[in-house]
């Protein structure tokens, strides 16, 4: 078995009576693409917020690369190599694409900043748009910029929260190639509603429902799992 890069045990996060995350265990192998799926409101975003440090868990522990990071503030976790892209696009709308990317790139203190930024832009196909103000980009380009900023941190674990939302069909192909190219140097935790993307990319899948882990395993196992089909796959496919 591969070495584990992240281990979460017994994570809980309640909002009043609502149990958004209710005792979740999650283990990520170094270098894998791990998908996190579940119906709307299952607690996926809340769970990765706990992992990235944007929220503090009510209970549970998180270990990253062998060290306990449960109490570490978010920016410290980013420094240790946990990159995060927001589900709701959070770019610097008032700044240029260049500045947006530079803010991520300059964390690595490169000698040649503009060269490194151009490189980071090229990875997500935005090199022609560097001088443009980010807020004036199309929605799809803003999503790409969001991902580009996450990538530019060169994280060891990259958390992508519904990255393909708002992509055109053609853009999804490019995105999948991009994510495949990240492993095994980077571990990827991918939240995704598009099942085709999940099945094509993920080496392992964790299914979340009502704040709890419903199932976890290889894609084939998840596809065959009755409980998952009832709770999620069947329902959502029927609805599509």
């Amino acid at each position: 078995m591969a070495s584990m890069i992240l281990q979460a045990e017994g994570l809980k996060r309640h909002f009043g009576g609502l149990k958004a995350v209710d005792g979740v265990d999650l283990a990520l192998n170094a270098g894998e693409i791990h998908a996190l799926i579940g119906p709307n409101g299952a607690g996926k975003t809340t769970l990765v917020s706990l992992l990235s440090g944007r929220q503090v868990p009510d209970a549970g522990t998180i270990r990253f690369d062998g060290a306990d990071i449960t109490r570490l503030p978010a920016h410290e976790r980013v420094r240790r190599g946990i990159g995060y892209t927001f589900q709701i696009t959070a770019i610097y709308a008032g700044l240029s694409v260049f500045d947006n990317l530079a803010l991520a790139v300059q964390r690595g203190h490169p000698r040649d900043l503009s060269g490194a930024v151009t490189e980071a832009a090229a990875r997500v196909g935005l090199e022609a748009l560097l001088p443009q103000i980010a807020g004036t980009l199309s929605y799809g380009h803003q999503r790409l910029l969001e991902i580009g900023m996450g990538l530019a941190l060169h994280p060891r674990l990259l958390i992508l929260d519904e990255p393909t939302q708002g992509f055109a069909a053609g853009e999804i192909e490019g995105f999948m190639a991009l994510v495949r190219g990240l492993v095994p140097a980077t571990t990827v935790l991918l939240i995704e509603h598009n099942m085709d993307v999940v099945m094509a990319l993920a080496e392992r899948i964790t299914v979340l429902d009502q704040g709890r882990v419903l199932a976890s395993g290889l894609p084939a196992e998840i596809r065959a799992n009755r409980a998952v089909q009832d709770a999620y796959l069947g329902g959502s496919h029927a609805g599509d």
């Binding site: 944007r54 920016h75 980013v78 927001f86 959070a90 610097y92 500045d99 803010l103």
Partner: protein, 311 residues
Amino acid sequence: MRALSLHLAVLALLLGLHFVLPAYHHANLARIMVLAVFAMGYNIAFGYTGLLSLGHALLLSAGMFGAGLLIQHFGLTAAPALLIGTLAGAAMAAVTGLLALRTTGVSLMIVTLMFAQAGYLTLLYFGAVTGGDEGFPVPAAGRVAFGLNLAAEGPRYLVALGLFAVALMGNLALVRSRFGRVMVAMRENEERSRMLGYNPFAVKLGLMALSGLYAGAAGAFYGVMFGYVGATFATIPYSILPLLYVLLGGAGVTLGPLLGAVLMFYLIDLASSHTTVQLAVTGGALLVLVLFAPKGILGSLRERGLASWLP
């Protein structure tokens, strides 16, 4: 390149004015340049970092009294007093920032306002030492640095220009540095900045201290160069003043504070030489700016495509 040449041209213009201005405007401009340094410090906090403070009078008076009290009670000469006063501004900003920066937005405004008010009352409370409401004149010996009388007209203008030049070029360098980009990032989206690995509290605290360094320098130089130190400089109007200058000239533009200070100074000067409506002018200017020109003069120009000239 364009920005650098514009800034140097402004400094050259100010130097040229030294030789041609009549005495009255010569003295005014020296005053304006020091006040513009104060407003530049405010601009670093408010315009670039997005920290809306209503308590910068505290930092100004920390510099002024830091220098003034040392001269008055310990017989220091101008040079060390100015240095210590400047640092006192930064230290005061750091200490109050440690508490105030735990809040944001409206709470930050009120907390800074309250700290400044407490500072003003403290100056009154220790009236025996600080001179209270009346303040005190800076002793003649304390106005001399390196054999130069800073309060005499010629040197005063040049010293004010020197201070302004250092402050302006420092501001320009900051804005164009990598750290300058982080500063603006805090204003634009703090949460995003945190998720890029920046510690918002530490960044904001550092910038608040830098802002205090500017304000402290302005206070110390103002006291020494104009020979007077008083608690009025710690009152609320002196916290509003830099806000007004920055809003008028353009928040988040390096040259905004200077332009705002020049225009507002002469607007009030003009109004008060004919009538007694300074209050209404100040209030009206605030309203007009916040309603119709929230970006200020240079901010609006920058939007019209002059961005490469006006960082």
